[in-house]
Symmetry: C2
Subunit: 404 residues, 2 copies
């Protein structure tokens, strides 16, 4: 008789955003007349940039003609895209990353969930708390997290690095030495980040203790301050300790297009084993490339027109972020983030729990946000709003919140 | 110090098709004037059907307008696609499969590699030999296959079910009882299949011994004989023992478009655990949906025009299959497959090994095929040619082979 992977049974509840979707669906069904504004899940609302649309139409046409039809993509992704990434995201910033260190994928969510597979079962992971839930959940599924304590909402074998008001949302080196350190900077959900010298300290620490950093740079395009690194490879020594994940979802609105990439430098070695070789093997065995049309869409984001259009799109969302931040402050809320990230992180009022505030906001203002506790125990008492709505809806949501 | 997943180090060589690609690239570089014909990797060559192209253009335009823009897809895939699949691929054949038992993905390769994750580490897998290498390789990576014996090219903990000339390529129930049985029917690489009563025996066997069948139906569209099942759910009792994987790569030429789906019936339970619930959890946590544009492309394959156009495309490739089969037979080769599948499986001449014949064909005829031994030890002494080339190239390749 076959047996199941029992680690799945350890997972409490369902995936955070599935739970929210279900709650909202139930509320909408019970209240079909209500106008719900969604500032919860980090999904974008602006249409794709004209340069991207044009590239996709062209690629679709190529698929209609045997002479230009494309079947299976090269294992790492098309060169035209990897060259554009290497040049624009790395070499132009002085980062020594070559096209053949870049692995094109169907998005950073898949990569951030899959990357743990190339590490041993008994590695100890460290995560910022709160953080994007996929890092911990994917490790739970592979049996790397020990037992779950429902009272503290923590896993026995996970090292949590609290990021709260008290430490200015800057993770501190943990007491126990981790093997794998997940850093999402600018951080989801807090919308905060750390300076380049602070990131350099993490790189030095990882190299010293023999840890690998999984660096999720999904929100890089939103960085507005000068002293913040756009890539971990801006730090000296990162090539021997860091893997970087990037997404096209937030800078280019590709949440429904699906494209991302992972950088595994060839200098990243564990004993004689090359992590680049291992990830290449995984990529070649368990994945078959992002669609040609989507890779052409990705390439278009690096064209001069594409860049200009995306800059406008990011500015549009950051205008929302700014409006949410100042609006909430005026309404008396304590608010963080929103400067280098499209997320606003607020302290819930009146000692409400995160989920209490979720229900309150949904029912009283018909606004959907994300409970901070869904991102880790230190997120309890906080709440995330995203800047990815339309400007009109964002303003409307704020008016409703002010009236509460 | 972090440690790697040592199971990766056990994998001999690289992924089969990566090795072939490298060999062909090396030959092409050394002989730039040669006209190589690729009948190796199972990649299609005909352009996408007009109905698919039209659907993709329309979907791209929707992404250009805020009113019709689509972000993150629903976890299981869009309803329009799941409804079309359930209706056309199942209910029309009398199979009791509902839309919410269908999980849309980026392709059957990913699904066939990922599905093992929901099972316990100590499950014993059984595979047809030869077969698509991803089943075994993904289990190697997760440590389920024991030790590798280089002499016999087998894993100590894998149950091999030889499919050769001697047993008419029909797998027999193994002596040891397996927990997970992979069946790819029509089979890749042999191009052979089994009858519906024979498949019913496998379903009965799995229900009796408590095994789960992972049924890969990637080549279903090529079935031409009456007594062959188009889905395992045509067999009684399959809802309690079988997961079915389907691809759009071969019936619709989506190798570069990337779309597939997996069916996990709600009746499939292990003790109290629902495999449907587990796969839903994996899908929601480690994947973020196939692109909207691609799901619309998939939907178009089920429209009346789409169906008619794909039927023509399949007929085109099957004409190639027929030409290869008869041409090789006339040239004195012993040949199998090509009736219910786009693959031709031939016995290598003069007791050549599979790789010897690969080199021979590449160098003497500039034709690329796939060595049978790459699909499992019982594939040694066989060779696979695919019908996915253009008709002109297929004819040219045959002329060259005949002249050898």
């Amino acid at each position: 008789m076959y047996k199941i992977n029992e680690n799945y049974q350890k997972l409490p509840g369902s995936y955070l955003f599935s739970t929210i979707a279900k709650k909202v669906a139930a509320y909408t069904e019970a209240n079909p007349d209500k106008d719900i504004i969604r500032l919860g899940i980090g999904d974008v609302t602006q249409p794709l940039a004209p340069a991207v649309i044009a590239a996709m139409h062209k690629a679709v046409d190529e698929m209609a003609d045997a002479a230009t039809f494309r079947g299976y993509a090269p294992d790492l992704g098309y060169e035209f895209l990897r060259n554009a990434i290497a040049s624009c995201d790395y070499q132009s910033r002085g980062c020594d990353i070559s096209p053949d260190e870049i692995f094109v994928s169907d998005g950073a969510k898949s990569d951030s969930a899959n990357i743990q597979e190339i590490f041993a079962q008994d590695n100890r992971i460290a995560v910022c708390d709160p953080v994007y839930p996929v890092y911990v959940d994917s490790n739970v599924m592979s049996g790397r997290t020990g037992t779950y304590d429902a009272a503290s909402e923590t896993w026995s074998d996970v090292i949590y690095m609290p990021c709260t008001m008290e430490n200015g949302f800057v993770p501190e080196f943990p007491k126990e030495t981790p093997d794998i350190i997940y850093l999402c900077l600018p951080n989801n959900p807090t919308g905060t980040t750390i300076t380049k010298p602070q990131l350099q300290e993490w790189v030095d620490y990882a190299n010293k203790v023999g840890a690998v950093i999984i660096y999720d740079g999904a929100y890089e395009a939103y960085i507005s301050e000068e002293n913040v690194a756009h890539s971990i490879y801006e730090c000296e020594g990162a090539r021997t300790c860091a893997i970087e994940l990037k997404s096209f979802s937030k800078n280019a609105g590709f949440t429904g297009v699906r494209l991302g990439y992972t950088v595994v430098p060839k200098d990243l070695k564990c004993g004689g084993a090359s992590l680049h070789g291992m990830w290449a093997r995984r990529h070649g065995t368990k994945f078959n490339g992002a669609p040609y049309i989507v890779q052409r869409a990705g390439e278009a984001t690096y064209s001069p027109e594409g860049k200009a259009q995306l800059k406008e799109q990011v500015a549009y969302y950051m205008k929302n972020a700014s409006a949410i931040k100042s609006g909430l402050q005026e309404a008396g809320y304590t608010v963080f983030g929103g400067v280098n990230a499209p997320y606003i992180w607020l302290k819930t009022p009146d000692k409400m729990t995160s989920w209490e505030f979720f229900d309150y906001l949904l029912e009283q203002a018909n606004v959907v946000g994300t409970p901070g506790s869904g991102f880790g125990p230190s997120g309890e008492g906080y709440f995330r709003l995203t800047a990815f709505g339309s400007y009109e809806n964002t303003k409307k949501a704020l008016e409703r919140i002010r009236k509460l």
